[in-house]
């Protein structure tokens, strides 16, 4: 079931892969004149508050921020503290993603400063939303879907506040150096191009020119210097550790063996791999196989990290096309190595681009909280019904040539393979292979892969067999109970609504 209206806008229900093609023209911001800007290029103002006031901030506006600082972001909280101080209400926060560090914004949702959040809601914010406490609907979009929504005018950003690790007073900015260095800034690219007003906030002002200009000063209205815009150790957070879990290492090794067996690891291949512990382990197993076979990858699409950088510097990978950078080694490499390139949702994921990179990748490794017997998968809610994760680039990456989901068969008793996913986020026709510690299931649509594993020692099972095995070990789970109140919708990459998330029914406290 999909609601007709979401936050005052009419919605279009999901129509299948590649079927929905909207018409019309791209959205745009009002015409600007350089006569309105300082001829000497100096756009610096006193502080963020002054910049917001000069930008004409009003109640009900949509304000955007980016998530390149991940759990080390200080700017979103500072921004809404100023908005509260100004006595403004009913703002819409449009982040490219949220993190646990944003939990204090729940207070602002409570007192009406923020009306609702349009963006991924992780951890505490997700819980708050799931329990039905937010006024508007949460709207979950993929990274590509966010670009699409900005470009076709579904979301209009009134003011974009872009935290920038390095910037000049003209507004050129990048994430490559400075105390809050984070690598790329390209999750804020659309914001810089389409928002009515753009404010750069930096703690590392350099004389003009700040190069490379990941964010172009020509799109920027004001520049603000603050003491500290992020917490470095949380920007490059501890996610980039290869898993030490024996089960996950086992799954990673099995995934690499599968790729080798079906002939996906050939000279010049490409892969996409995240920064999760299992993904990292898979990349290192790829590395072992590549060394042994004497082959290299043409490119890797990434969240880059030290392990991928090592592979590139060893000559196993020619190019890194990097959407976000997860550690200092990744940042250094992006700064120094011309073969390590910052990509954006526009190049990689956007539905309104004339093609994008996602479909060009040979091997795509992704996760999921649940997968059903039709290979449909969920990444935003847990099996207990709570909204706890964003979509990230997940939906966009499904367009890769072979999409593999290495997942444990169950997590702390909770089966991953289920009859029906709690939230439908990705259609099974785009998901090719499920690798678990107890067997590999291949989507029957991929007859080629099924042929190529014949006679191999790989533990191939049907997805139904995997589900039964999980239920034999864990027991058959009950379903979460929801009220009929909608709390959020999940968008597909083309802007249609693919599923709806309902309010959790509080668990009954029976004590028998």
């Amino acid at each position: 079931m999909v609601p007709e209206m979401v936050n005052g806008r009419k919605t279009i229900p999901y129509q299948g892969v590649d079927n929905y093609k909207p018409e019309g023209v791209f959205a745009a911001r009002p015409v600007a004149s350089c006569a309105d800007y300082p001829r000497d290029g100096n756009k610096q103002v006193k502080d963020l508050k002054e910049a917001l006031v000069k930008a004409g901030i009003k109640s009900g506006m949509t304000i955007s921020t980016h998530h390149h600082f991940r759990d080390g972001d200080l700017i979103a909280l500072r921004l809404f503290a100023i908005i509260r101080e100004l006595g403004l209400k009913d703002m819409v926060w449009f982040p490219s993603a949220s993190f646990p560090c944003h939990a204090p914004l729940i207070d602002y949702l409570e007192d009406g400063t923020i009306h609702h959040v349009e963006g991924s809601m992780n951890g505490p914010l997700g819980r708050y939303c799931s329990e039905g406490n937010m006024k508007g609907f949460g709207v979950l979009r993929s990274h590509g879907g966010r670009y699409q929504a900005i470009q076709d005018g579904e979301v209009h950003i009134d003011i974009a506040v872009i935290a920038a690790p390095t910037a000049d007073t003209f507004g050129n900015a990048n994430g490559l150096s400075g105390p809050s260095a984070c690598g790329s800034l390209n999750f804020a690219l659309a914001d810089s191009q389409y928002a009515d007003r753009v404010i750069i906030v930096t703690d590392n002002l350099v004389p003009f020119p700040c190069v490379p200009w990941q964010i172009q000063g020509n799109n920027v209205d004001f520049v603000v210097v603050e003491d500290k815009i992020g917490i470095p150790e949380k920007i490059v957070s501890g996610t980039t550790q290869i898993t030490r879990s024996p089960d996950r290492l086992f799954i990673a090794e099995l995934t690499a063996k599968f790729c080798e067996t079906v002939g996906l690891l050939e000279d010049g291949f490409s892969f996409q791999s995240g920064a999760g512990g299992t993904s990292l382990a898979i990349s290192t197993y790829f590395g072992d196989i590549m060394r042994e076979k004497g082959i290299k990858a043409r490119f890797a699409r990434a969240g880059s990290n030290q392990f991928l950088v090592e592979m590139m510097e060893e000559g196993l990978v020619e190019y890194i096309l990097d959407g976000q950078t997860f550690d200092l080694e990744g940042i250094r490499s992006m700064r120094e190595n011309p073969m390590h390139i910052a990509t954006s949702p526009f190049t990689s994921y956007n539905y309104h681009s004339k093609g994008n990179f996602a479909g060009m990748v040979d091997i795509v490794i992704l996760g999921a909280t649940e997968i059903d017997l039709q290979y449909n998968a969920n990444v935003v809610t847990h099996s207990d019904g709570y909204l706890l994760h964003g979509i990230g680039g997940w939906q966009n990456c499904l367009f890769g040539k072979t999409v593999i989901l290495p997942v444990p068969l169950f997590r702390d008793r909770i089966p991953v393979i289920v009859d029906e996913v709690t939230t439908f986020c990705g259609p099974g026709e785009l998901i090719d292979v499920i690798v678990t510690e107890r067997g590999i299931a291949i989507n029957p649509l991929r007859k080629d892969l099924l042929d190529r594993v014949k006679g191999s020692a790989l533990p191939i099972k049907t997805i139904g067999e995997l589900k039964e095995e999980a239920e034999r070990i864990c027991g058959k789970p009950e379903k979460p109970r929801f009220t009929d109140k909608i709390v959020a919708v999940v968008k597909w990459v083309d802007g249609t609504v693919i599923d709806t998330i309902f309010q959790i029914q509080p668990p009954h406290q029976t004590n028998n």
Binding site: P246, E437, I473, R481
Partner: protein, 401 residues
């Protein structure tokens, strides 16, 4: 009075902490906090009620702090806590599942035996996926002294419920005499093999044997023994220990304790334990059983592990312990003969069989003389290769093509 069992804390997964107190009001008052409440809350409550009704307990207050424990874990924790306040001999046994059974034989391959701490359910659940020849549910050193009793329930239930993936089901009991109590709980669950730690004399084996004779009167299924030699005295008595019971199928050495006994440091090259290792191998071979090496304790050192396995194989050991699942594969591969050895053994065996047919005592292959011991060694490699699946049983047929 309150009985408790299990583990809790931020890092605990797939386990629970349970407390049971007698209550004056009738009824079983269950206070459940579970991370899987929505999905399994009702299943957990009904399991709990079933257990209390089985033990005919009508008045109790039960707290369960659950981190996603499977049914057999919850049952073990509840029973362990409950028995502290309501003692009795009845046992609440989960159903024995088919996948928990494994084939066993006196001389089956025992290259890798994976240690799993007996009170850590998280590590047990997937122990069977890693391809170990044996899985040891350990009641001894990996279980804290105040957790010994509850671990026994958990290991008992694990033997009935876990999927061992075809690995031999092994249990390391505590040092005697505590280990004798372990046997009472464990033996009825049909483990394939019992490891007896810190063995120093044949009389210890006799004690174990006596209990096994009593508990396994019909001997419808074999339960093997693997004594672990971990002291200077044990090394001296290795042959007596190896031959003390017909149930002994392998003799293992534990070098951490052995080097401590000598008062020397355990080194990677292991010169300090050469005598002990050679003695154990010699005693085992003399007794017609397998010699099994100690664990390699640096999980991160993959190269060191390889060197260690090669040295161990060269000394005559046929397997070693694994303290981490990632050690299983290198150990299995390390003790297997390599392709070159197999190819050579095939040639020798074929030549020898041909020679026997022609009634020749000694023949040569290339420049090397082949006499009976050479042929015997080659035949052992072939037998091994067939058993470990590296060589088809009908390999001779292919050779005549």
């Amino acid at each position: 009075m309150k009985g408790t069992a299990g583990n809790c804390g931020d890092s605990i997964r797939s386990d629970c902490f349970v407390s049971v107190e007698p209550a004056t009001d009738p009824g079983i008052d269950i206070r459940l906090v579970s991370k899987v409440e929505v999905l399994y809350g009702n299943a957990i409550r009904s399991l709990c009620l079933d257990i209390f009704s089985y033990f005919r307990i009508t008045n109790a207050l039960v707290h369960i702090d659950d981190q996603g424990a499977l049914g057999f874990v919850l049952a073990a924790r509840l029973e362990a806590a409950l028995k502290q306040v309501f003692p009795g001999d009845r046992e609440y046994l989960p159903q024995m599942t088919g996948s928990s059974q494994s084939p066993t034989a006196k001389d089956r391959l025992r290259r890798s035996r994976l240690y799993i701490p007996g009170n850590s359910p998280k590590l047990m659940i997937n122990a069977g996926i890693h391809g170990a020849d044996g899985i040891i549910l350990d009641l001894e050193d990996s279980v804290a002294p105040d957790k010994k009793a509850e671990a026994r329930y958990l290991v008992r239930n694990a033997l009935r419920s876990l999927d061992f993936g075809g690995a031999e089901r092994m249990v390391r009991i505590n040092q005697l005499p505590l280990g004798l109590e372990d046997l009472n709980a464990i033996l009825p669950q049909r483990p394939n093999l019992i490891l007896i730690p810190k063995c120093e004399s044949a009389s210890q084996l006799a004690e174990v044997d006596k209990i096994m004779d009593r508990l396994l009167p019909d001997a419808g299924f074999p339960v093997h023994l693997m004594p672990i030699i971990e002291s200077a005295l044990g090394v001296v008595n290795a042959y007596q220990i190896a031959t003390a019971s017909k149930r002994v199928v392998a003799l293992a050495i534990g070098l951490e304790d052995y080097t401590a006994d000598l008062g020397v440091k355990r080194t990677t090259e292991g010169r300090e334990s050469l005598y002990a290792r050679a003695s154990v191998v010699n005693a085992a071979v003399a007794a017609g059983i397998q010699a099994i090496d100690s664990v390699f304790s640096d999980v991160g050192d993959r190269e060191g592990l390889k060197t260690n396995i090669a040295a161990s194989k060269a000394l005559g050991f046929s397997g070693m312990g694994c303290i981490h699942p990632r050690q299983v594969d290198p150990i299995n591969k390390g003790y297997d003969p390599d392709q070159e050895e197999i190819d050579r053994a095939k040639k020798i065996v074929l030549a020898w069989e041909e020679a026997e047919k022609n009634k020749l005592g000694v023949i040569s292959l290339g420049t090397k003389m082949i006499d009976p011991p050479v042929a015997k060694r080659a035949l052992r490699i072939i037998t091994y290769a067939v058993k470990s699946g590296m060589l088809a049983a009908n390999w001779r047929e292919g050779n005549h093509d």
